[in-house]
Amino acid sequence: CKKSYIELQDPTKISTTDLYADANGLNLAVTAAYGTLQDIYGKGTSGTGMYLFTDVPSDNSNALVSGAGLGDFDLFTVAPENINLTTQWQSFYRCIARCNAIIARAPAVNMTATLRDRYIGEVKFLRALSYFNAVQIWGGVPLVTTEIANIDDALSYGRASVADVYAQIEKDFTDAESVLPVTYATTDLGRATNGAAKAMLGKVYLTEGNFTKCKAKLAELLPKGSNAWGYDLLPNYADIFSTTNEMNKEIIFAVRYTKGGYGTGSPFFNWFIPNQSGSTIATVGGGSGFNSIMQDLVDAFPATDPRKAVSIGTYTTTVNKVTTNYYYTKKYTDVPANANDSNNDWIVIRYADVELMYAEAENEINGPANAISYVNDIRRRAYGNTTNDLTPAQTATQASMRLAIENERRLELNMEGHRWFDLLRTNRAITVMNASFTKYQTKNGANVIQISAPHNLLFPIPLREIQINPKLTQNP
């Protein structure tokens, strides 16, 4: 027998061994790790993305579709079977696995140490970002930091403690911060910088309630305009979201999307506009109504706030004298090349968020006095004047200041994937949501929805994962 006769390989594909063999291969692998960000934040037709965990459950938005289990995220009826849980879980760990493989294999690649360190720093940033999102969705999750060699290895992981997951997130962001550059060549715009690592680290500390560390870390990014990265607030709120102004100086880290049938387009425009709108808003691909603005958010804006018109669009239909208004976010507006194929980036963290987080930490440590100016920064940019600064009543006490910051974050960062995590962080989710449900008489069946801790504060671990690996325990 000729042995070579049966030694066949696929000549059309790159073997995994070849992929990690040199600097170019490693570069491709790092790009693929960034590619998972689109899976995590939203891609194609699955309908799953971070918005479903950060906006839909909150009082800002709802999913006006009951198919594919999206509506369950509104009504707090997400069953462990819900396909979106599985998809999101797999997206996070796809990212983590790609990062782990690069971290494990990069040291053996013959290349310049600076570039190698940068690649490792970039994927540590991505890994930390995945874990940070996952831990806020599910609590403690399996903490995988090395390459999984086989199934038995994969089955050996149970859930790590929340503290252990945060320890790893801090370590990864810290490692990334130490090796990542301040800026990249323009062709590399969109890669994680050390500024992004600092901003995320600040957010992690804030979420953990470590206000001192948060304040210290975010202080490194101050003051606006004259920091090392050139981060600043844009004069005009609407410009932040314009597809002709991507990666502007307010953007610290964003998931990048480009339309044109490359499979790298942004789905948010088609996803988030009303499915009743046909081709009147999106001339290509129509609307899906996955993430529609609720009356509660519309009502939260003072009529004078210019951000309302920038953020909220209204689609009105009148059929047989019955008029219905649908509200949708205008932050992701771009003519799609194909359905779910637009240019809008998903902003993960921007400078206004940093200022508001800094204010929040400062208020927790020292009270309102030194926090006020950072919130007013945001308001002055929005209104273009100082007459709409925080009122004395809002800044009177630490407690009132907390609510002022919460409200400012809700308005400034609306529909950008922050609200639910903000409510969780500040332990306000139960109070705020139940009040909203009562006010708008939001029902599941005959009863107004009321949520409770701890059941409604974490999402179920996907049933598929528990069934495959019984070591994983379900959330209460």
């Binding site: 073997s15 009504l75 399996p142 047989n320």
Partner: protein
């Protein structure tokens, strides 16, 4: 001193038998009768004995003696044990078999108006389950031999046509049934092990018709029929639907859209099933010529098969030619050549599959989300017209949704899809096989064959600017969207070659010992190249231009696979007095598909039989004519995991970086990790058989019992999400057994003027998964989108069980809700589905999911009765399965009650109020439904048992002078019907359904809007001249 003997061979009625064989006993001399039934043969001396044989007739021996004229009339054999059956790499007398082999001959296949030979096998052989799960024109059935043989590597048998082991089952399906002389099914491993790694699921051996010496004979068969859908699914009409939507809106406290307040009798009342189904026409014609000299014989058949489907826009046409030649080049050298070109066109459309996810889909890089029309026809609100006054197709979302949020999602107008969506495949095939046989010394033959097959196919898809789909939900005749246009063309080229080389030695020693030895070496390789071009965003809306070139964006992909197999094998057959029979074989295969550590494997087999009926003490009575016991053991394998599965490759995952809107950057990521230990799935089968013939075999009874143990199961196993590179990977894991019993009986009930025969069989197979993973966990599959892990393979249970909640009713009223366990994700209200709280923890959650049924039948059966009276013949074939369950995934929509799409008439029995609780099992209608209605439960499970009148054939044979004057030897007119009646409790179109028929995974019995089976009535004519 040689003597010339002449004569005529006729049947019992005196009709001549052309092509009958006359052989001199214990020599290789033999001739065939000519068209007039006459022969002439030289025999060595007066002591010579001539053997007269003809398929379907009892073989007779006559001593020559002083006769130079010997006319013989052969009797129709009841069940001829001298019949020769083809086994791998050779043939042998049926009576000398020591293994379990089932057979059908051309008589059992002819006159059937079917596209594929597999359909004609249904119900004919014990242990062979033929499931026609889809009724698309030209669609092939799924054939399972002795149950599910594998978890993840597919259970398709190996097909061997005239000695050529085919690369794919589809090549078998494209053989014209008219070309087939006989089909043998090697069921147990003792028989199948000669094909080693490909024998694990049994082997189907096809022998095509060959020429016989004599004047050229022609045969023409024409058959034409009409077909209709055999059944409808009952859905609500407009008044019922309006009442139901009103109820749903009232239950959810929402304002009813005004349309629903109009008088229902003023609204359209469209029967959408009427709109997609039509009467199909099937036509089949074949013309054959065969004949030759004693040196060279030939057979040529040309056939045409044409079928328009019972769903609009579906059509299948096939043109086959098959030519064979056998030549004696010299005394010792024989040559044979077969060539079978064919050409087929297949127009398909989006029929089966989900709401906006049809099975036939995936036209572009962005799937266009065309809806499955079968399910869309059930879901379309009956109050919509097919078309709007302006010519547009009605569109539920644009017409009804703005009026009041009736719809979420969109069941796209199925008539629009059938009218506008284009999907045509043209396939050209060429199968050829050339053989040379050389007799080195007497009894020792060397044979070499070279087979070559080329399959060229070209598939074109087209979605015009006017078709509503996910990509352009509002596209319509008056609203063409250029960006909606999708065109794709795919060309595939498959080459396959095989070289088989054998040495065969046959010797008789002593007086009664007969030994045949076989040794062989073979190698086979398959390569497949595929290129696709995609055009998106057309430049003009003209529906005629269906070419990707006329697109704004043009993309292309290229695919390649290959596999190779090298093998050596050996077999010995021995018999003593045709009484004690022994067979042993061994094969070693090397395959490119497995890990570098495990590429070779060896497959041994042994079998023995004792024909007790041949013992002297049994010869004293004449009741028992045959009494054979046999036993066999064999090892066979399964390598159907696709190519390169053991290796690890990276695929492209792109991202974007850079200024402005950023620029695409290429990235690559592995999709799985390499598995160098990936190896064969091996089955060890023990088979015990008993055959009893009574009254000269007028009653022939066969029983087989087997135990098949499969280990190293090739399994695409779901892996934890944290693995990251894939959600499932191929591994060898676990073991499984199939135990079975098969009974078949063939009887001649009446022999006189009215002749009546019955062939009946029944098979029982019990499957049990013994072990899967080390942690005893299960492997899950999804029955449909959102039905996660609803199909499970659990150790200790039969493979592929349905898992879900167990419905015990609906919550009757508030008191019932208060007193009962409630749905954990969101609670329960009166009218909601009430499930059993299996673990008694007071809430219904995932821990209450249980086994709710198996799609595997408890037994399958078939029965053919044939009647012959004078010139009339009548046959009917009954076939059925019992005890299997169906999971209806369409009910995720059609039995869901979210107050938007149409639903099944079950809804008429729904819960409406505590005082009007309906049938106690059907939940309330509501606009926002709880997740409890969308999970898999016993609500989705149905009994799939059925009994089907598969085929009825009534024929009349013309004879007489008029025919002779026209030079016609025979003429037969027949009327025939396929799938005439099905007795079943299942409400769906077809209880044989499986939307995953093409999947290698063990997903059986799932219904999600597949193409229904047609019921066909036909009339045909067969003329021999």
């Amino acid at each position: 001193q040689s003597i010339t003997v002449k004569g005529k061979v006729t049947d019992a009625q005196g009709l001549v038998l052309p092509g009958a064989s006359i052989k001199v006993k214990d020599s290789s001399t033999g001739v065939l009768t000519g068209t007039d039934g006459s022969y002439s043969i030289n025999v060595p001396n007066a002591n010579s004995v001539l053997i007269f044989s003809f398929i379907g007739y009892t073989t007779e021996e006559h001593a020559v003696g002083t006769n130079t004229q010997l006319n013989v009339s052969l009797k129709t054999s009841e069940h001829s044990l001298n019949e020769v059956v083809v086994v791998g790499y050779g043939s042998m007398k049926k009576k000398l078999l020591s293994t379990s082999v089932g057979a059908v001959n051309s008589k059992q296949i002819e006159d059937r108006l079917v596209a594929t030979p597999g359909e004609a096998l249904s119900g004919q052989i014990a242990g062979v389950q033929v499931s026609q799960s889809m009724g698309d024109p030209g669609a092939a059935p799924v054939i399972l031999i002795r149950g599910v043989g594998s978890i993840g590597a597919g259970s398709s048998p190996l097909y061997v046509v005239d000695g050529y082991p085919l690369n794919s089952a589809d090549d078998f399906n494209q053989i014209s049934p008219a070309d087939i002389e006989s089909i043998q099914v090697l069921k147990d491993a003792a028989a199948a092990a000669i094909y080693g790694s490909r024998g694990g699921n049994g082997i189907i051996i096809v022998t095509t018709k060959r020429g016989k010496a004599g004047a050229t004979k022609f045969n023409f068969t024409g058959n034409t029929g009409i077909a209709n859908v055999s059944k409808r699914v009952d859905v609500l009409n407009t008044p019922e639907y309006v009442a139901y939507v009103k109820d749903a809106f009232a239950n959810s406290g929402k304002v009813l859209p005004p349309l629903y307040n109009s008088d229902p009798s003023t609204l359209p009342n469209t029967d959408w099933q009427d709109q997609i189904f039509r009467t199909g026409v099937t036509q089949s014609y074949s013309l054959a010529a065969s004949g030759g000299t004693d040196k060279v014989t030939f057979n040529v058949t040309g056939s045409i098969y044409s079928q328009t489907g019972i769903i609009k826009a579906t059509e299948f046409n096939r043109y086959n030619l098959r030519a064979s030649m056998d030549a004696k080049l010299s005394k010792k050298l024989k040559f044979n050549f077969n060539i079978a070109p064919s050409f087929a066109t297949n127009d398909q459309t989006a029929t089966g599959g989900g709401l906006n996810n049809a099975l036939i889909n995936g036209i572009g890089v962005n799937p266009s989300g065309v809806g499955g029309t079968v399910i869309s026809a059930l879901l379309q609100p009956p109050l919509l017209p097919v078309r709007q006054p302006n010519g547009d197709y009605s569109n539920a979302t644009t017409i009804l949704s703005p009026a009041g949020q009736v719809f979420s999602g969109n069941p796209y107008n199925p008539v629009a899809t059938l009218d506008l969506y284009k999907d045509r495949t043209t396939t050209g095939r060429l199968l050829s096989n050339t053989g040379l046989e050389y007799e080195i010394i007497s009894g020792l033959k060397f044979k070499t064959t070279l087979g070559f097959e080329a399959i060229l196919n070209n598939r074109n898809w087209y979605v015009p600017a006017t078709l509503q789909s996910d990509n352009g939900p509002t596209a319509n005749i008056n609203n063409p969207l250029l960006t909606n246009i999708r065109a794709r063309t795919t060309q595939g080229i498959n080459y396959n070659y095989v070289s088989e080389n054998t040495l065969n030695y046959n010797t008789k020693f002593g007086k009664y010992h007969d030994l045949t030895l076989l040794a062989g070496y073979s190698f086979q390789k398959n390569t497949y190249n595929e290129t696709s071009q995609y055009g998106q965003n057309g430049t003009i809306t003209n529906p005629i231009v269906q070419n990707p070139n006329d697109a704004g964006i043009i993309l292309g992909t290229y695919g390649y696979t290959s596999n190779a197999l090298i093998s050596s094998f050996f077999r010995a057959n021995y018999d003593y007095k045709e009484k004690y029979l022994l067979t042993a074989s061994i094969r070693t295969d090397g395959s490119s598909r497995f890990g570098t550590n495990k590429q070779y494997a060896t497959f041994p087999a042994f079998s023995a039989a004792w024909r007790i009926g041949e013992e002297a003490f049994m010869k004293k009575q004449d009741v028992i004519s045959e009494f054979k016991v046999r036993a066999g053991y064999g090892v066979s394998g399964n390598n159907n995991i696709g190519d390169f599965a053991a290796q690890s490759y990276a695929t492209q995952v792109n991202y974007v970086f850079g200024a402005g809107n950023a620029t695409p950057a290429f990235g690559f990521s592995p999709t799985s990790l390499a598995n160098t230990d990936l190896t064969w799935e091996t089955s060890k089968t023990t088979n015990i058989g008993l055959e009893i013939g009574l009254l000269k075999d007028r009653i022939y009874f066969t029983v087989d019992a087997y135990h098949k143990l499969t280990d190293n199961l090739l399994l695409s196993r779901g892996v934890p999400g944290i693995y990251g590179f894939a959600t499932s990977i191929f591994t060898n894991i676990g073991s499984m057994q199939n135990n079975g019993l098969e009974f078949s009986i063939n009887t001649v009930n009446l022999k006189g003027k009215l002749r009546w025969t019955t062939d009946a069989n029944i098979s029982f197979n019990r499957n049990k998964v013994l072990k899967l993973t080390d942690d005893g966990n299960f492997v899950g599959y999804d029955a449909a989108f959102g039905y996660t892990n609803s199909i499970r393979v659990v150790p200790g249970e039969s493979i592929s069980s349905f898992y879900g909640y167990k419905q015990i009713g609906v919550y009757k009223d508030a008191a019932d809700v208060a007193a009962s366990a409630k749905w954990a994700s969101g609670g329960s209200v009166p009218g909601d589905v009430k499930y059993a709280d299996i673990n008694g923890d007071g809430k219904i959650d995932a821990s209450d999911i249980v086994n709710i049924g198996s799609p595997l039948p408890k037994f399958t059966y078939g029965m053919t009765n044939r009647f012959e009276y004078k010139r009339f013949s009548l046959s009917f074939l009954l076939q059925g399965v019992y005890g299997n369950k169906i999971l209806n995934a369409s009910d995720r929509y059609t039995d869901y009650y979210n107050g938007s799409f149409n639903v099944r008439t079950n809804a008429l029995n729904r819960w409406e109020s505590p005082t009007d609780p309906g049938d106690g099992m059907t939940p309330r209608a509501a606009v926002t439904n709880p997740s409890s209605t969308t999970v898999v439960s016993t609500r989705n499970i149905f009994d799939g048992s059925y009994l089907r009148l598969r085929n009825v054939n009534l024929g009349y044979t013309f004879t007489g002078r008029t025919l002779q004057r026209l030079s016609i030897n025979s003429a037969r007119l027949f009327v025939s019907g396929e799938n005439l009646v099905t007795f079943t409790k299942y409400f769906g179109y077809n209880p044989e359904v499986n939307v995953f028929a093409a999947s290698p995974q063990p997903r059986y019995g799932v219904d999600q809007g597949t193409y229904p089976l047609p019921r066909t009535f036909s009339i045909g004519l067969n003329i021999g001249f």
